[in-house]
């Protein structure tokens, strides 16, 4: 529910400096006829709506330096981003959102697909998005709203996803990751290798899941399948009976006191884990890193059933056209050109164009984050703080192993309405 508007790190002075030139140009060309201020304020500005994942002051500063485009972040939670696209499509220019929300966004007609031909690096985008396999050729699980199912539209203004590649791309991929359970190895003191452990009575009162219904139920389904109770045709698109079954298992666990708390926001998950209130819970990679940077042992545990993955990318508001659309393309092209990708990789996410990101990273960084090799030197976060000491190995190993192990993708089900009602029932039980 919280929504903050981030300001980019550009001071008024630098903005004035950069716009002064433009203003002078405009004055010289005779564009100014009595209203000089209006023209000079028309700088290259893009309003960027998204979750905090891709938004960094460093990225916007570098973007301004390289392209002259000033990014104004509008930061919201995943749910609020979708809500805003639906209700205020003119309040943003560039949208950074997850693929699973496309099932809602595309039919609304509030977003515009981008033209693949205008994206310089489009052909270099990782095959994870385009073919559903890793660069090494491993097939990736396609349950849920896998990006390749919703990557293309049939036509420019079409509301139908195309099964084959077209030039109309719903979201230009930017960032993605493979999520799993986070654990406290110092408290659990034994190997954990299955999602089923989340409901193991051994961890009664010390487990937690994500309280975002569409994602929480996927984690729940991973658990149900791991315990051998049921095998879903598609965890990301359950039938009513499957939803009932999944929620029944979870409700029994809740009533038995299995869960300490459910979490909804990054900091909540960090606090639960760091304080020892929970020892096993669904988690996000940077949250695990955060707990670890507090000096507390925490592992982003690879599990034999695989990961639940998510991915996000860029599109524009339907209100964007002309010059502004050109800036949007310029920005997206810049974003894929390496700086931002390296920045995201260093946080433990993955960038869409691997080759450009690699060029912006040190070889030892690439080896640690992407190849699963022991760190040659200390690994530092983009802000320079120490993440891992030399010798550490990334949880889950290499890009191939982690992305190749993805079992399902965040999704919006056809029975979403029913599922939300059942989720409320689960909370009330």
């Amino acid at each position: 529910m919280t929504e903050t508007t981030k300001k980019t790190g550009v001071s008024r002075r630098t903005l004035l400096k950069s716009t002064a030139g433009l203003a002078g140009l405009a004055a010289g060309s005779g564009a100014i006829t009595g209203f000089p201020y209006v023209k000079s304020a028309d700088a290259k500005v893009l309003r960027y709506l998204g979750t905090a994942v891709n938004e960094g002051d460093d990225i916007s500063k570098q973007c301004l330096k390289d392209t002259g485009i000033k990014i104004e972040y509008i930061t919201a939670t995943t749910d609020d981003v979708t809500k805003r696209v639906m209700t205020q499509p003119n309040s943003f220019d560039v949208l950074d959102t997850e693929y699973f929300s496309l099932k809602k966004l595309v039919p609304s007609g509030n977003i515009l697909a981008l033209d693949a031909k205008k994206i310089k690096e489009f052909d270099n985008i990782t095959p994870v998005f385009t073919k559903g396999e890793t660069p090494g050729g491993k097939k990736i699980g396609n349950q849920g709203t896998a990006p390749w199912k919703v990557l293309y539209l049939e036509g420019k203004d079409s509301k139908t996803f195309s099964k084959t590649a077209t030039e109309f791309v719903t979201l230009i991929p930017t960032v993605y990751n493979a999520d799993t359970l986070g654990i406290r190895p110092d408290i659990i003191k034994r190997p954990i290798n299955s999602w089923a452990e989340l409901l193991n009575p051994e961890f009664k009162g010390k487990a937690s899941i994500l309280n975002i219904p569409s994602i929480g139920i996927m984690d729940a389904a991973m658990v149900v399948e791991a315990t051998g109770k049921y095998k879903y045709a598609d965890k990301g698109n359950m039938t009513k009976e499957e939803i009932d079954l999944t929620m029944k298992v979870m409700t029994e666990a809740k009533k038995a006191g299995q869960f300490r708390a459910f979490w909804k926001d990054f900091n909540e998950s960090v606090n639960l884990m760091a304080s020892g209130e929970t020892v096993i819970q669904s988690m996000w990679s940077p949250a695990v890193t955060k707990v670890r940077s507090m000096g507390i042992a925490c592992t982003f545990q690879p599990l034999k059933e695989g990961y639940r993955s998510w991915a996000s990318g860029f599109c524009v508001s339907k209100g964007v056209s002309g010059q502004k659309l050109e800036w949007a393309y310029e920005f997206v092209n810049w974003f894929l050109s390496g700086y931002a990708g390296a920045y995201l990789n260093r946080q433990g996410y993955y960038s869409a164009v691997l080759s450009t990101a690699k060029a912006h990273m040190e070889p030892y960084e690439w080896a640690y984050w992407m190849e699963g090799k022991p760190a040659e030197k200390d690994i530092k976060a983009p802000d320079g703080s120490l993440l891992e000491k030399a010798g550490a190995v990334r949880d889950g190993g290499s890009y191939e192993d982690r992305m190749g192990g993805v079992a399902c993708w965040n999704a919006v089900m056809d029975e979403n309405d029913y599922m939300v009602r059942k989720w409320n029932e689960f909370i009330a039980a």
């Binding site: 609020d80 900091n267 309405d417 939300v420």
Partner: protein
Amino acid sequence: MDMSEEVLQQASPGLIPGSGTARAAKPTRLSPSFISWLQAGPMMLVFLAFFLIPLVFVIIVSFWDYNEYQLLPAFSGRGYTDTFEGCIAQLPDLCTIAKTYLKTLKLCFLVWVITLFIGFWVAYFLAFHVKSKTWQMGLSLLCTIPFWTSNVIRMIAWIPLLGRNGLVNSGLVKTGLINHPLEWLLFSEFSVVLALVHLFTFFMVVPIFNSMVRIDKSLIEAAYDAGATGFQTLVNVIIPLAKPGIVIGSIFVITIVMGDFITIGVMGGQQIAAAGKIIETRVNALQFPAAAANAVILLVITFLIITMMSRIVDIKKEL
């Protein structure tokens, strides 16, 4: 809403004599009633624009249909029928909405009783035992301390205190009173009530204090002179005269707790149902008509409670 209208009605007669003197200095044709409408006007407009009209929209939308991505402006009772799903079929088991409201009402009642008890005595102390106005002011401001932090900070702050390895638990374990940490201290109904009381006692203190300072001290002296004990004075003089404050404070606390889902969510570990939480989940899933229907239900129930309370005390008369 009721209350503010009362305030308006109260405010206008008091202001008319002022306008009367203005008329004496400079004669105009404006009638006194027109002037009071004019004075109440801005507030009424604000109410109309930001409360009544949006409320009407909420009620209209609650009867619409919807799909995954848009509202369908056709009459549908789906928001309501979905909400009461299983209420008859599941009998004797309670349906989701009944369970949710029972839980919310229970929390609401507990918080109301405790804040009323604490709030009454804090106000009593401030009104009758603190003589200096400055001290009264200073001590009331102290009551606002719980509002100085955000919800997130508060959540972080409760864990080291009430958590499994928190101060309270480790203290109790060290003194040997308990062998294992008490799990129910945090993420439980206990912690929800504790946090809500901690936050909202202030809303009880202020109106009750306000009523108490207006009590004519000679009435209390008269009671003593007539031979009343301290307890008799309290029951027969102070409580009846502080009633408007008690009712206003109760309305504040009850309406806030009925609609709260953030504190209940954070302190209850998101495992305790709340009427507001259902609305939030629906809104987040873009099911606006269903959310609106739940909002209307919440409004009706809260309104019923408040009507019951104002039956007990006629605020209009007492103010």
